[in-house]
Symmetry: C2
Subunit: 363 residues, 2 copies
C-alpha cells in the first residue's frame, strides 16, 4: 500500500501505523489537537491492518493481460486513495462475527464501484489529474477509461454475486442506479447555479452517501448482524457519506480558491453547486447570477480574477468554512448515534473515531 501524502510522514513520527487510512485519519486528529482520538485511530491500525491488506491484495491481483482497458482500470486503483469504503466494510463486519470472504468481496466491490465512477467522471469532466497523477483518460484515452469504468462495475457486481448473500446484489444494483441518478442531477441545473440545499443533499446522498450506506450494510451482513443492526449501520453510512462530501467540497474550494480557480470553474460549468458555494451565493446573491451570465457568455476556461476575489470575500463573510465543518460534525454525531443499536466493541469505537476524523479531516 502506498502513501501518496509525503508530508504525513513527519506528523506520524509519534507512532508507525502501517494502514494509510487510519494513519491519515490519526494524523488529522493529532494535527487538530484531538490527542485521544488520534491515539484511538493509531491503535486501530493493527486491528484492521490484516483485513485491509487482504482487500488490497485482491485489488492488486485484478488483472486483464494485454488489454489497454485493464491498464486503464488498474492505473487508478494502483494510485491508492483512502480506501475508506473498504475500511467501513471491514469495521462493520467486525461489529459482528468478524471479517470473512464475504466482507472481502464487499470491500473489493465498493472500492471498484467507487473507482468506476471516478473513471467515468474524469472523462465527463475532461479531468487531467487525479490522486496527484495523470488521469487514466489522459494516459490511455477516453475510450479505454470508459470501458475500464464499465469493466470495474461488472467486476464489482460479480464479486457481490459470488458472496451470495440474499438481497445484496439487488441492493448494489439499486445503489449504483441511485449514484447514476444523483450524478446526472447537476446536469439538469447546468448553467443555472440555482441549486438549493435540498437539491444539494439529494445529490450528496446519491452520489456519495449511497455507496457508504452500502459498504456499512454489506459489512454488517457479512458479519451476520441482525437486520435492524445492519440498517443502523446503513444509517451511519448515510450520515458519514454526507459529512464526507461536505468536507470534500470545502477542501476542494479552499484548495482551489487559493490557486487558479480551475476546478471551481469546472464544477460551476457542470452545474455542480457545492455546499460552501450555496452558502457563498446566499451571502452575495448577485454573485451567482453574475457567474452564470459570465459562464454562458464566455469561452474562457477560467473565471476572471475579480470573480474569484468576490468568491473569497463572500466565503469569508458567510463563514462558509466554519458552517461546513459544523454541518459535518453534526452529521458525524448523527452517525455515531446510529451505532447505539450495536453492542460495544472495538470496531464500534473505531467507527466512532472514523466519523469524528471524517468531519475534521484536512485533506
Amino acid at each position: 500500500m502506498m502513501n501518496t501524502l509525503p508530508d504525513l510522514s513527519e506528523q506520524t513520527a509519534m507512532d508507525a501505523p502501517e494502514d494509510p487510512t487510519l494513519d491519515r485519519l490519526g494524523s488529522v486528529a493529532a494535527n487538530r489537537g484531538l490527542g485521544a482520538l488520534a491515539q484511538e485511530l493509531y491503535s486501530l491500525s493493527d486491528f484492521v491492518q490484516q483485513d485491509m491488506s487482504v482487500v488490497e491484495d485482491e485489488l492488486r491481483q485484478l488483472d486483464r493481460p494485454q488489454a489497454l482497458v485493464g491498464r486503464a482500470g488498474r492505473h487508478l486503483l494502483r494510485l491508492g486513495g483512502k480506501r475508506l469504503r473498504p475500511l467501513c466494510v471491514a469495521l462493520a463486519a467486525r461489529c459482528g462475527k468478524g471479517f470473512n470472504t464475504a466482507a472481502m468481496d464487499f470491500g473489493v466491490a465498493v472500492e471498484l464501484v467507487h473507482n468506476a465512477t471516478l473513471l467515468h467522471d474524469d472523462v465527463v469532466d475532461l479531468a487531467r489529474e487525479r490522486r496527484g497523477q495523470a488521469t487514466a483518460r489522459l494516459e490511455y484515452g477516453n475510450a479505454a477509461a470508459i470501458f475500464a469504468g464499465d469493466w470495474l462495475l461488472i467486476e464489482a457486481l460479480r464479486r457481490v454475486r459470488r458472496a451470495a448473500l440474499p438481497g445484496l446484489l439487488e441492493r448494489l444494483l439499486d445503489t449504483i442506479d441511485e449514484m447514476i441518478l444523483a450524478e446526472s442531477l447537476p446536469l439538469e441545473h447546468r448553467g443555472r447555479l440555482d441549486v438549493d440545499r435540498s437539491v444539494y443533499f439529494r445529490i450528496a446522498e446519491g452520489k456519495t452517501a449511497a455507496l457508504f450506506r452500502y459498504a456499512l450494510y454489506s459489512g454488517g451482513r457479512a458479519g451476520q448482524l441482525t437486520e435492524p443492526q445492519c440498517q443502523a449501520l446503513a444509517e451511519y453510512g448515510a450520515h458519514l457519506g454526507v459529512a464526507f462530501q461536505v468536507v470534500d467540497d470545502l477542501l476542494d474550494l479552499a484548495g482551489d480558491a487559493a490557486r487558479t480557480g480551475k476546478a471551481l470553474f469546472t464544477d460551476l460549468k457542470e452545474g455542480m453547486v457545492t455546499y460552501p458555494l450555496i452558502l457563498i451565493f446566499e451571502q452575495d446573491p448577485a454573485l451567482g447570477r453574475q457567474i452564470a451570465d459570465w459562464l454562458a457568455g464566455s469561452d474562457d476556461l477560467q473565471l476572471p480574477d475579480e470573480v474569484l476575489h468576490r468568491v473569497r470575500v463572500a466565503a469569508e463573510a458567510s463563514g462558509a468554512e466554519q458552517r461546513c465543518r459544523e454541518l459535518a460534525v453534526e452529521r458525524a454525531h448523527h452517525a455515531i448515534g446510529c451505532l447505539e443499536a450495536l453492542p460495544q466493541s472495538r470496531a464500534r469505537s473505531a467507527l466512532e473515531a472514523v466519523a469524528h476524523a471524517t468531519a475534521h479531516r484536512r485533506r
Copy 2:
C-alpha cells in the same frame, strides 16, 4: 414501433406486416429474389408480433422522470433499431414452451445492453449521428450519454435478476465483460492497422456475437429447453453474430466509400480494421502502411481523395464484397446447422430465415 427506413414502404407493398424487423428482413429477401424466404419472413410477422410489442412496451415504459440521463437513455431506444436481439430471444423461447415474462425480461435486457454499448461507443467515437438522428451525446452531452449507458446496463442486469433463472445473471455479467474486452482490443492496435483475421474474429465474437449468443441461450432457457438445446441455440447465436458483423462492416464501407470516407477514417483512427479492410489490405499491402503513416502524420479529419480511390480500386480487385457475403452465408449455414438439436417448429424455421436474411441484408 417505428420504421426509420422510408424506402422500405415501397418494397413491402406485397404485404403489410407490422413487425419492422421481419418486415425489413422480408423485404431484403424479396429484393434479392428470394421469394420463398420472403414469404416465410412475412408469415412470421403475426407469429412474433405480440412478443415483440410486449418488449417494445417495456422499453417504452422505461422511465426516469425529470432527469437528463433518462432522456438520453430513452433518446436512442425510441429511435428504434432492428430489435434483432429481442427477436432472437422470442424465437428461441418459442422453440421451447413459448414466450413468457422471463423471455420478456431477457428480450428487454439484451436490447438495453446493446443500447448501452452504443451510447458509450458514440461518446468514444465522438459520433454525431445514429439511426439517422443526432446522437444522445450531441443532444444531451457526453456526461448524460455516459451515465445513460451506465443506467441501461444496470437496468438490464436488474431485469435478468428479476427473471431469477439460475446462472443467467452470471452469464450476462460474463457476456458484458467479454464485450468490454473485445471493444478495447482495437485500442491496442490503434495507429498500426496490422489487425489480422484472428484478431478481427476475436473482436467480432466478443463485441457482437457474445450478446447474440446470450440472447439465444436465455430465450431457450426461458422456453425451458434442455441445456444441450440451449447450448445449440447459443452456438447458432455465435455464428449469426459474426455473420451480422461482417455484413455490417461491408455495408458501412460500401456506404462510406461511396460518400466522404468519414466513418472509414474514424474506424481506422481507432485501430478498428474491419473484415473487408483486411481483404483490401491483403490485396494492396502498401496501402495499409500508407494509411497508417498518413494517419500518424496528419491532423486532417478525413482521408485524402487519392487514398479513398485506392481503397475503392483494391476493394474491387480483391472481390471484398463477394467474399464478405460468402463468409456471412457460410456462417449463416453453420448457424442453421446448430438448430438440428431442436425439434422442428415454426420458430426454428423462423430462426433459419433470420440467418439467411442476416447474411443477405442490404442495410
